[in-house]
Amino acid sequence: MSEYFSNIKTGASTIATGMAITLKHFFNAVKRKGDAGIDDADYFKQVDGLCTLQYPREAVPTPAIGRYRLHMDAEDCIGCSQCERACPVECITIETIKVTADDLAACGKTSGGQQKRFWLPVFDIDVAKCMTCGICVSVCPTDCLVHTPVADFSEFDVSNMLYHFGNLTKIEADAKRRKLEEEKAAKEKAAAEAAARGEAPARPAPKPKPAPGPQPDGGKAGE
């Protein structure tokens, strides 16, 4: 019998405690936590009160290393394909065309000053497949592939999530490819001739001199 009453008593008292807590929160609702980011010194300043952020109006800043949307800067890419190999998901597709000797200047240098040796007709990232693991970014030697902190980019059509970062249009790519073939053919011919002349075959081609070739608007064409 005493258990019966003590049960009622503990029931009532614990329910009262719980209700006191929720009521405290109810009256604390006049206070609001600000939109301080985690790297802000007063992130933990506001302990009580509402913690809702009204997202489209206010947003907490995402940290600079936040890994959300992949972005590639074709200006800086040297076409090494390391990211393609490292990606566990295989969501990056790269096609490269070796730059012919006379186009090197047209191809340009990265912002780090490194000479680029490949055209990039195709550099596709299927963001729909990407699992934002960041492995591709970590292997990129020129830091041209980055995760941006932009998270909100939904689409009505899933095919819009295939991002093309290549910097050549199809026609240009064909032209470059043909050019490379020609150069290769010429080189092979030269090598064959050289072999016929009995010279050592496997000498690397001499550094090509910068020659004012046809100026492709390669940097901006990719879309």
Binding site: N7, T10, G11, T14, I15, T17, G18, I21, T22, I38, D39, A41, Y43, F44, V47, C51, V60, T62, P63, I65, G66, R67, A86, P88, M131, T132, C133, G134, I135, S138, H147
Partner: protein
């Protein structure tokens, strides 16, 4: 001999008749009803399907059906190289990504036999314990929902958000971090990290007390969970339970203590065990209490790690990472204490490839859930919900 095994089987299959257990008697000549709970049901924590045969409100038998989230993790292990597997381990127990990564990485490191910098170990432990707290918060919160209390769930998620923010700050992602790499970490922690974690601990402590007052000590909650789904210790071991589930049955077993890894031997914490004053050993409440105690212990561990963590100028967490991860031929079984129990990886390497020949993940939830059929016999449907909640499954890990 085989016969003996059978006999023995019966002797271990003792499930005690707690006083809550309803003795199944047929009052009316009603037919048994087959209820299919899930895979889309609010209380199955994802996509578990329970086929319950019920007699009125009493569950005669509940058979779990898995595989609704079978994502072929083990296939991927054979197709992707070692660093590439790490993000996939995140997606197994998606509530405790860092713990999973850590379990996988220490296994591979064991096979590679490499030394890890001390600072890396401390950062790993801090983040893993933070993640353990986050995971337990989800467990406690969703358990609240299962029993009808919605507010504690939101309080838990509110505090979990701080942990996620902390971890996003250091790793760049909110939930699936890919932060712990084989032989190191992806990034060093920011300069303010220590301070912020310290602030978090001070912020969090009163919130935990509030949560306990709101949920754990509530009489209705206690009445709903006490004596429900009792699992005796020997049966629990035989079922291969681990983690809070095993400790809830009163077995003093914690891999951080019994099979120590990382810097846990240097840390002072106690293995969470339920107090028989508040619960019956092995019941749902005991399992819940163990999780609650573990949050406190994790906070203690974090505080100690913050004190002990060495400061290194210009520290490069990727320094110890081998250029090409190609372990020697051999096999290894490595494991770590996850929020849900022992997460083990059995890895077989042929010494030639950068991909494992075979990698099996021994997931704690899978094993814990296998006792469901025995636990649910003769319970009421609401108790069934309470039991599933107390097992705290993550289907990503069950089905892998």
């Amino acid at each position: 001999m085989q016969e003996l095994g059978k006999a023995d089987l019966n002797s271990t299959r003792i499930i005690p008749q707690g006083d809550n257990r309803v003795v199944i008697e047929k009052d009316l000549d009603t037919e048994y009803m087959v209820l299919s709970m899930g895979p889309q049901h609010p209380s199955t924590h994802g996509v578990l399907r329970l086929e319950c045969i019920t007699d009125g409100e009493v569950v005669v038998e509940a058979e779990p059906y898995l595989g609704y989230l079978h994502r072929c993790f083990e296939k991927y292990c054979e197709k992707v190289d070692y660093p590439g597997i790490v993000p996939y381990t995140d997606r197994m127990d998606y509530l405790a990504g860092i713990n999973n990564e850590m379990a996988f990485c220490i296994t591979v490191e064991k096979l590679l036999d490499i030394e890890i910098p001390r600072r890396v170990e401390f950062i790993r432990v801090i983040t893993a314990e933070l993640n353990r707290i986050a995971s337990h918060l989800v467990a406690i919160g969703t358990y609240g929902i299962d029993l009808g209390a919605f507010t504690p769930f939101l309080f838990c998620f509110r505090d979990r958000e701080h942990i996620l923010n902390l971890l996003e700050w250091i790793s760049g992602a909110r939930m699936l971090y890919n932060y712990v790499w084989i032989g190191g970490l992806s990034y060093d922690v920011p300069a303010d990290f220590k301070k912020r974690v310290d602030e978090f601990v001070t912020y969090f402590k009163p919130k935990v007390v509030e949560l306990y007052q709101l949920l754990t000590t509530n009489e209705i909650f206690v009445k709903r969970t006490k004596g429900i789904g009792i699992m005796p210790a020997d049966v629990a071991i035989n079922y291969g339970w681990s983690g809070p589930m095993l400790r809830g049955s009163g077995v003093d077993w914690d891999l951080r203590r019994n099979d120590p890894y990382s810097v846990y031997p240097e840390l002072d914490f106690k293995v969470a065990l339920p107090d028989p004053k508040f619960c019956e050993i092995g019941d749902s409440l005991a399992r819940h209490l163990v999780r609650a105690i573990e949050i406190d212990e994790s906070l203690k561990i974090i505080e100690q790690c913050l004190d002990k963590m060495p400061e290194v100028d210009g520290f490069d967490p990727r320094a110890a990472i081998p250029k090409k991860i190609r372990p020697k031929a051999g096999e290894v079984y490595g494991r770590a204490e996850n929020p849900r129990g022992e997460l083990g990886f059995y890895i077989q390497s042929d010494g030639k490839s950068t991909k494992p020949l075979r990698c099996k993940a021994r997931s704690s939830c899978f094993v814990n859930l296998s006792a469901m059929k025995d636990l649910s016999k003769g319970q009421l449907i609401p108790d069934l919900v309470a039991i599933i909640g107390s097992i705290d499954i993550v289907l990503g890990e069950v089905d892998r």
